[in-house]
Symmetry: C2
Subunit: 252 residues, 2 copies
DNA sequence: ATAAACGTTCGGAAATGTCGAACAGAGTAG
DNA sequence: CTACTCTGTTCGACATTTCCGAACGTTTAT
């Protein structure tokens, strides 16, 4: 998959350990042979890695296959902590979902991708945090485009160089010039629209969340089927919420 | 800390990588030198590990120090998935918190420890998932004792051999005979009580959550200051909720 | 009962992680 | 403004480790 480890002073063994973790995370449960096959390493090697993770309590055996253990839940909470420090972000997401009666979400930029940090489906919500932690290319979601539009040009350049503009649907922007035009429109309007660019038949309206200093802190969006998402109605709501978060930072 | 890696076919490099992750997770942010000092390894070694994690997108630099990245949030969600498969568990925790008007939680047994999976403080909750993912010795919490009481004797033996009975407060059970007596009482009554054994001034009532097959699936408990926690009132509520979860499994 | 698949152990060859020293850069105190 | 200290970074060489393949034991399927 990646050869980055050898290139540039990384540790290939550690790299492989992470690959093993990813294999276990991307499916529910895998055995020694399955891990070895997927990573194209010897069974005995896969076994050694799994043993390391098991001895340390990071994975466990259930029904004869290995699974990620709850230690990752602890690490995940630790990783999320910087956002939990500002509880009003989660509150605003819930407010937004309640008022708009569609899904609302807050995404954070990380390593040039957008990551779902909070999500709410309003008062009548299915209580599970579906999609939390999921990474998605920034150019393919409304909140991501809203953030991109705030980045300096060279940062966008670097991002596109590294990841390209992978298509999620037929509507995804895959052309650099088209992206620039879209970002320019976002800056003019102050909000971004996603018209089936990440999932067919899903429309979203997103706005950037800035710190008082003007740094991009994340992106806020609401999404749902097109007939329930009217940008003219929702843009002010989303931008307002984003701005309220910005103001809350003042009192920290 | 641990020398387990060398002993028994583990990979010491991978072991060290996990240690680096733990250092970053146990505090907010650490630099190369700090990691090296804490693990007593060369700065250049710590640097190599951090680079590996950084190149793979697992950690990131913020304000000049390294922090866990949101990729761990994704792994954490994957680790939690087996419980999210049964949404009624989370629902029952919330019900329990609403009805008792104190905190309610569901803990899962893993690697001989109890891990907070769900937690609710009722309708007027602070919405953050505080304590989720935290690991705690089973003998020191109500839900943990409730689970322990269901384990076969040799499993309790193995657990005590491995971890001992570390004290959290002056009230924590640290004597094996005393633990056995306590577990026997739990079995008689059907529920466990925690009287300041994990935190001073916190009382809890817990019950085991079993599968229809009789396996221990987890533990449910409510907790709060003693004057708000009357075991005679709450035991039936907690045991009832635990039993309802058991019944829900039937329809899966 | 036989076969096939899986997890596990082991030794040796080859690859790689570790260390320390040296370099560069940022920040601070004088 | 300079000197000093702290940080993060690079590099080469040695020693350690990882990795593989083959063989063994165990379970599941035919």
């Amino acid at each position: 998959m990646r050869e980055d480890a050898a290139t540039g002073g990384g540790l290939s063994t550690g790299d492989r350990l992470l690959s093993v973790i990813e294999v276990l995370g991307s499916q529910d449960g895998a055995g020694v042979t399955e891990v070895a096959d997927q990573l194209e390493i010897a069974k005995s090697t896969a076994h050694a890695h799994l043993r390391t993770l098991h001895d340390r309590g990071y994975i466990l055996k259930r029904d004869g296959t290995y699974h990620l253990g709850l230690r990752f839940l602890q690490l995940g909470q630790a990783a999320k902590q910087p956002w939990d420090e500002y509880p009003f972000i989660k509150e605003k997401v819930e407010e937004l979902a309640d008022e708009s009666e569609i899904r609302a979400q807050f995404l954070a930029p990380e390593h040039d991708e957008a990551v779902y940090v909070y999500r709410s489906t309003g008062r009548h919500s299915v209580p599970t945090d579906s999609r939390v932690g999921v990474r998605i290319p920034m150019h393919s979601v409304a909140a991501g485009k809203a953030m991109l539009a705030q980045f300096p040009g060279d940062r966008v350049d670097a991002l596109v160089d590294r990841h390209g503009l992978p298509a999620q649907t037929d509507e995804t922007i895959t052309d650099r010039a088209e992206l620039d035009a879209a970002l320019e429109r976002v800056r003019e309007r102050g909000y971004a629209i996603n018209e089936g660019e990440s999932w067919e038949g899903v429309r979203a309206v997103g706005a950037p969340v800035l710190t008082p200093d003007g740094d991009v802190f994340g992106g806020l969006s609401v999404s749902g089927s097109p007939h329930r998402v009217d940008p003219d109605d929702l843009a002010d709501l989303v931008m307002g919420a984003a701005n309220e978060i910005k103001l809350e930072f003042q009192y920290e």
